[in-house]
């Protein structure tokens, strides 16, 4: 609690400094930039989207130079931040080129790379003898990692783009596996890491793509796919400098453990021996529960990992694990990245406040103007998918069949998880004005959590340019039924959480407002509409600072709920999606 509170204070401080830059005098700006160097790296990484946007867009030329140097300093301190900055620059280069900042962005891009490789600013002044041969050789390893990581991400996102050319789903899947197998053939000599994570996180070295576990998702115009990779988790170093590893040797092989010299040998003899799926009966589940549950969620994450480990030539390494991402092309993920960052902040606000209202944070990474990757939500299925796969007519029916009868322990736990995340995403949807909330974009986890996905329309934008979904948030009859309907204990709990969550968010409004407004200069994101200042002002007004008493605010929250319960526009939008796109 103390640690996270401290981090949020540092975040507040950082945001205030970044915001002050636009109103301070020249001399004050110089002081502010100098103070930025005092910010802890984890805080900078948390707010990296905003930091990079300010560093690129700041108007005063001399201050902009100082900010660029600060940005490069970040790249020298944290390798993962350098990678993210390089992908951020790749994502915005075209836009800023059109806005007259192309030269500035190009220069920044080249120098991010040299600062990341040299880690300039870390080299001790004076005594050359302190620089070891090992440190000199690390620069080459860093460049190898930088080049190969960026190439790997470029290849897989390009692959998603190529798969679009095959109209036939089966052909897409076949082509996906063929291409991934080709990539696999050169992985053993390459340095590739799971790109999510910061200086406080261990490195996850990608050693193999689990080709048989990779799936192309159905989509008309795009071909996003699930990429499952085997990794070796390395806590002998961090994402701040992966090549400082004591577990991975310069030639790419791994030791069994950092403390011993024994080198791990992949058991290639096992390759190709695919054990049949072990359908072990688990006594915990009733027959009918098992059917509905497995139907929606397939095998559990633990089962999946255990099965993969058995098949894997790396599976015997004690640090072996699995990571999963969704690869997307022909999709601008910058807005997704911002939305998920804000959602993560909302969640931290509630955690720090001791409130059980929650969301399920995951991360997105935009790597070019029209491609990127996202963390995959394992063990979750869309409401639309559940209805189609499990042949249930409503979500409540599914809850009964998957988690057991109302009142049973499992059902109560699932219902609790549903209510808590329902409250969390209701607040998120309202504050960020998230649209396109059809049942293809609402997921249910294997523990009953509700998870919203796909934040392509928020703030000022709506599907088709028409703001039809005007309810504060989606609270359809179907979602109500899962909570037992109006008057139920679960729904009362939902209302309480919504109020508590809204109060907590209101108290930390400056964080949310700061993160959003810092992204508005040059208006590079469509979600801000034609007038970003107006969008920010509307966001501010949703915090209802004009309401002075707790009672007034409580009444306001009550009105939001009343305005959302079985809202006719919500109902119509779902009906439209059913008729137009077959989403149930």
């Amino acid at each position: 609690m103390k640690a996270s509170s401290n981090l949020s204070l540092r975040r507040r401080e950082l945001l205030e400094r970044l915001l002050d830059l636009s109103t301070a005098t020249f001399d004050e700006q110089v002081l502010i930039v100098n103070k930025l160097y005092d910010t802890p790296l984890p805080t900078l990484e948390e707010v990296l989207l905003q930091v990079s946007h300010v560093c690129i867009t700041h108007g005063e030329a001399e201050i902009q130079d100082l900010l660029r140097n600060f940005m490069l300093w970040i790249a020298a301190q944290s390798f993962s931040a350098a990678l993210r900055l390089s992908w951020t620059v790749d994502s915005v280069q075209k836009i800023f080129g059109l806005l007259g900042l192309g030269d500035r962005v190009k220069e920044i891009r080249d120098r991010i790379e040299s600062f990341a490789i040299n880690r300039r600013g870390n080299v001790r002044d004076g005594n050359d003898d302190e620089v070891t041969e090992a440190e000199i050789m690390r620069k080459e390893l860093r460049l190898k990692l930088y080049n190969e990581e960026r190439q790997f991400i470029s290849i897989v996102t390009h692959l998603s783009s190529q798969l679009c050319q095959h109209p036939d789903k089966r052909k897409r899947q076949t082509e996906l596996k063929r291409k991934l197998q080709e990539i696999n053939n050169s992985l053993s000599t390459q340095s590739i890491i799971y790109p999510f994570g910061g200086v406080a996180d261990p490195v996850k070295w990608i050693v193999n793509i689990a080709v048989d576990e990779c799936v192309v998702f159905s989509s008309r115009e795009r071909a996003p796919f699930l990429l499952r990779c085997e990794v070796i988790l390395d806590d002998t170093t961090s994402m701040g400098d992966p090549v400082a590893s004591k577990l991975r040797l310069p030639n790419g092989s791994f030791k069994i453990a950092a403390d011993f010299d024994e080198v791990f040998t992949p058991s290639y003899a096992q390759e190709g021996s695919g054990d049949e799926k072990d359908m072990k009966t688990d006594g915990v589940f009733q027959g009918s529960d098992r059917d509905a549950f497995v139907c929606a969620f397939g095998e559990s994450a633990e089962e999946c990992v255990a099965r993969m480990r058995k098949k894997s030539v790396f599976g015997k390494h004690p640090n072996w694990s699995v990571v999963s991402v969704v690869v997307k092309a022909k999709d601008d993920l910058r807005q997704e990245e911002l939305a998920l960052q804000l959602i993560d902040i909302f969640n931290k606000i509630w955690e720090e406040g001791g409130i059980t209202c929650s969301v399920r944070p995951h991360r997105a990474l935009s790597v070019s103007a029209d491609s990127g990757i996202m963390e995959y939500l394992d063990g979750a299925c869309s409401i639309d998918g559940i209805k189609k796969l499990c042949q249930v007519s409503s979500l409540a029916q599914f809850f009964n069949e998957a988690f057991g009868p109302v009142g049973s322990e499992r059902h109560s736990k699932a219902e609790m998880n549903f209510v808590e995340t329902m409250a969390g995403y209701s607040i998120v949807s309202y504050m960020l004005q998230v649209k396109d909330r059809h049942n293809g974009n609402l997921m249910i986890s294997s523990e009953g959590h509700l998870v919203h996905i796909d934040f392509g329309f928020m703030f000022a934008t709506s599907p088709g340019g028409i703001n039809f979904e005007s309810a504060p948030f989606k609270l359809s009859q179907e979602l109500m039924e899962v909570m037992g309907g109006v008057g139920s204990a679960a729904f009362n709990y939902f209302k309480l959480l919504l109020y508590q969550g809204m109060v907590a968010v209101r108290e930390r409004a400056d964080d949310i407002l700061g993160l959003v407004s810092l992204m508005t200069p040059y208006n590079t994101m469509s979600c801000f509409g034609s007038d970003p200042a107006s969008t920010v002002q509307q966001l501010r007004s949703r915090f209802r600072f004009d309401l002075e008493t707790e009672t007034d605010f409580a009444l306001h929250v009550k009105e939001l709920i009343l305005g959302s319960v079985d809202n006719w526009r919500t109902r119509r939008y779902d009906q439209f999606q059913t008729l137009q796109n077959g989403i149930l």
């Binding site: 050789m137 470029s154 291409k179 990539i183 000599t189």
Partner: protein, 211 residues
Amino acid sequence: MSHKYIFKYIIIGDMGVGKSCLMQRFTEQRFRNDLPHTIGVEFGTITVDINGETVKLQIWDTAGQERFRSVTRGYYRGAAGALLVYDVSRRETFSRIGTWLQDARGNTNPHTVMMLVGNKSDLDESREVSYEEAVKFADENNLLFVECSALNGDNVEQAFLSTAHKIHEKVMCGILNPGDPESGVQLHNATLPNAGDSTKRERKGDNTCPC
């Protein structure tokens, strides 16, 4: 927008000939008189246009000091281009180019493009190595050659770009293969090459390349 190729470079030569100033002049368009001695290696990068294709040059500036020689030699492997730098106002730096060349040939792949670079051409009054003498050495050893000045920028771009053009030619001919890590050339937006593509490229090279 994004680069198509990466070309790796090494810059080698005696201490004090201006290797770091050359790299900085080229990658950062500026000159610093007070650059400290390079410790081991220093990395720089810049994206340029070669025959209409975007190429990222990744450059290792190596320390000229003897005590770093063994560790910096490891960086020669996998270089597509090598700049051998001497100081036109200090004859001993030119005299030792032969040793540097021998080192480079022994540690790079046979198709690495090598250029002899006479830096500090602005110090004409202090010149100790004539242009003609250096041209002769370059011709005898199959090296490209240019005199330049990191101080005023003369010919610095040319040193890197003419080498890059030569590397690009070799890539087009198939002499330098981006799929080979030792070549020092890497494709960035790699559409995975398959057997058909490789064969096609080789055939095209045979038919059209004047090399």
